[in-house]
């Protein structure tokens, strides 16, 4: 994987960690395993990308508490919850805390791989979106204050004449600013401009 995505396994059972690590490594995933919630939290970095494979019942902090903690820390790592004795209550708690999937042990291989695949797809999409946001910001930063004022008003749906009146400049000058602004942002129409300003 070129994009630095990792499966973080948190399970207190050594054999389960070992077996899952082996299986996921064979499917070319990067794997990091933790024996309990505390050691995971201690090592946790906001920059981590990938997904968390989380057992519910563990000594110390249980999996659902860890899931909530991650949410509080502002992490957007997708969480896949695993449990040997799933009940409606724990499933509900997990999904309300935005779990991506809820798997019963013994695990079904295809469901596990699907869940991880989905989690990674989400992470990539989020990364793409973040990339676009950065680019747009850079383009916007290149506008002069006057061009920004014109852009805001164009996006708000005002005509050139209205804008000219508001800014106390001639309509002709508004046209010049507008053409330059659209050129800098690389948009061809007002519709494109609106779309870009929304992203």
């Amino acid at each position: 994987m070129t994009d630095n995505l990792t499966v973080f396994i948190v399970d207190d059972d050594l054999s389960v960690r070992d077996a899952l690590s082996l299986l996921l490594a064979i499917h070319d995933y990067r794997v990091a395993a933790f024996a309990d919630a505390d050691s995971f939290l201690k090592a946790f970095k906001p920059a981590w990308r990938g997904c968390v494979l989380l057992d519910i019942r563990m000594p110390g902090m249980d999996g659902l508490t860890l899931q909530r903690k991650l949410l509080e820390l502002g992490s957007d790592l997708p969480v896949v919850v695993m449990t040997g004795h799933g009940d409606v209550d724990s499933a509900r708690t997990a999904f309300r805390a935005l779990a991506l999937d809820f798997l019963e042990k013994p695990l079904d291989e295809s469901r596990l791989l699907n869940a991880i695949g989905e989690a990674f797809a989400r992470q990539r999409k989020a990364a793409d979106a973040a990339l676009t946001r950065d680019q747009v910001q850079r383009l916007l930063d290149g506008l002069t204050p006057r061009e920004k004022e014109v852009m805001e008003r164009v996006v708000a749906g005002r005509h050139n004449r209205e804008i000219a009146a508001e800014l106390a400049i001639s309509p002709r000058t508004v046209e010049v600013h507008k053409a330059r602004m659209m050129d800098k942002l690389g948009v061809l129409s007002v519709a494109d401009l609106v779309r870009l300003s929304l992203s």
């Binding site: 054999s15 077996a19 899952l20 082996l22 299986l23 064979i26 563990m58 040997g84 042990k105 291989e109």
Partner: protein, 520 residues
């Protein structure tokens, strides 16, 4: 089967012998005696053997009339009265047959009543009919009818009441077994001796002054039936009846006094039977309760183990998937080996869990045996000694007193291991220095022993102590929190108890009854 052919002649011979033995103090030389156990035998024979027994009974009654009383009157009168008597027993047996299942041991109140009421009323009706027929045949003095009816009724009712349960038990497999095991006990000899003493006191000291001390006779029968249930009641009632008859023969009491004594005898027997019935009922109920508790414990154990199977199965499945993928790629080497070794190890682990389950169910029927407490604690502590050395935990096993338990060894080992396991987990979780687990056993008054397992962990708060014995409440990841629930069920099945104390360190206390010291 020669025995089969001997059965009916054997019955007739026994019936006549009983008739002869009990032909004491006859009224007017007739078959009116204060004690007649022969009809009891006749009724049991009729109930057990079915229609063919009717012929045998009539033959036995007629033969008894001929051999024992020697036909003192014209033959047709004797024959007629004997036939009327036999017909009465036949009707009574038909009536009992509908109310008394063949498998019943008369050892609960309902069955006792279902048997008692027809016997008392049936013998009364029979007595009236028989005596009236004797009267009509002119065999009875005109003023002797009422006394005759009462005497005959008492003799029959007492004979049947006291002897029929004995014969009923002797002719059934379960009854024979129960009687044999009661007779082999030393306690039976003890209350028999007490019975002799009571007879001596009642007849020797109180005999002249109107039999005042009769109530002494209740002691052995109450003892026997309270301790041994219906079996003890039957044995003691039979022995007392024989003792009373022997005493009146030796002391030469009048027939009327004997009839009064027999009324006393039947009351004593009934008291014994009802106490015995209640005791048996209570024992059965408590046995059923234990069985239920055991099933509940087994169910919880199965649930806990099923959960523990999940982890190795999860790992096993993942290794197998890994193996599949590697195999498909044609990859060999370290990773393939890791998958296969992992599968092997996890299969082993799952097997261990199943073995524990089997061990538990193997003890499904509580197998009580004499177990030395020292050996029990020793074998349960064995796996934890190594653990203590490895974990730097001090494991103190105090000297165990020389006490024997009547217990299921495997189940109690489950309890003790569970306590040790909890203690070691508690110590491992607490970050203290001077890690310590200790076990000691202290004899308590009342044939009990206290086994105390303590640890230097953080102990349980009041709330935790209350919740610790609830199902599915666990502070640990492995298991469903059933260890203590099962342990308590096992302790209670053994007649003991298990609880934890609220303290600043872990304290679990197990009390078990000890085996009564044997006289060997």
């Amino acid at each position: 089967m020669p025995l089969k052919y001997l059965l009916h002649p054997g019955f007739i011979a026994l019936y006549v012998a009983l008739d002869a033995a009990s032909f004491i103090h006859p009224l007017h030389g007739l078959n009116i005696t204060p004690w007649s156990p022969a009809p009891a035998l006749g009724l049991v024979y009729l109930l057990r053997q079915g229609p063919i027994a009717r012929v045998g009974l009539v033959a036995a009654v007629l033969l008894g009339e001929y051999l024992v009383r020697g036909m003192p009157f014209p033959w047709w009168k004797s024959l007629g009265s004997a036939l009327i008597l036999a017909a009465g027993y036949l009707v009574l047996s038909e009536f009992l047959k509908r109310r008394l299942p063949l498998t019943s041991l008369l050892d609960d109140r309902a069955a006792l009543l279902a048997w008692m009421v027809p016997v008392v009323l049936g013998t009364l009706i029979n007595s009236v009919l028989y005596l009236t027929s004797l009267h009509l045949l002119g065999l009875l003095p005109a003023n002797g009818w009422l006394t005759g009816v009462l005497q005959f009724w008492v003799g029959d009712a007492v004979g049947i009441t006291i002897a029929m349960p004995l014969f009923w038990w002797l002719t059934g497999e379960r009854g024979r077994f129960a009687l044999r095991s009661v007779l082999l006990r030393g306690e039976t000899l003890m209350y028999s001796l007490l019975g002799l003493v009571a007879l001596g006191i009642a007849f020797g000291l109180g005999g002249d002054s109107g039999f005042k001390l009769f109530y002494i006779l209740f002691l052995p029968i109450v003892w026997a039936s309270a301790r041994q249930g219906m079996a003890g009641a039957i044995v003691s009632a039979t022995l007392l009846q024989l003792g009373v008859i022997a005493a009146v023969q030796m002391l030469d009491f009048s027939a009327v006094t004997i009839a009064e004594l027999q009324m006393l005898g039947v009351v004593m027997a009934l008291v014994g039977f009802f106490i015995g019935g209640v005791v048996d009922e209570q024992r059965r109920t408590s046995g059923e309760l234990r069985q239920t508790l055991r099933l509940a414990a087994a169910g919880e154990m199965a649930g806990a183990l099923a959960h523990e199977l999940n982890q190795p199965l999860t790992a096993l499945g993942a290794y197998a998937s890994a193996y599949d993928t590697l195999q498909a790629r044609g990859e060999t080497g370290v990773r393939l080996d890791a998958a296969i070794n992992g599968m092997r190890a996890e299969a082993q682990r799952a097997g261990d869990v199943v073995k524990r389950l089997r061990d538990f169910f193997r003890t499904g029927a509580t197998k009580l045996e004499s177990v030395a407490l020292r050996q029990l604690i020793d074998s349960s502590a064995e796996p934890y000694r190594l653990k203590a050395r490895q974990g730097g935990i001090q494991f103190i096993e105090s000297e165990v007193p020389d006490i024997m338990l009547l217990a299921d060894r495997l189940q109690l080992e489950v309890v003790l291991r569970n306590l040790f396991s909890n203690a070691f987990d508690a110590v491992a979780a607490a970050d203290t220095t001077g890690k310590l687990v200790s076990v000691q056993a202290v004899p308590l008054p009342g044939a009990r022993v206290l086994i105390c397992v303590e640890d230097s962990g953080c102990g349980l708060s009041r709330e935790e102590a209350e919740r610790a014995f609830e199902s599915f409440h666990s502070s640990k990841s492995s298991g469903l929190g059933l260890g203590l629930v099962i342990s308590r069920a096992i302790a209670e099945t053994h007649g003991g108890s298990l609880w934890c104390e609220v303290a600043d360190h872990g304290v679990f206390k197990l009390v078990l009854p000890t085996q009564e010291t044997r006289t060997s």
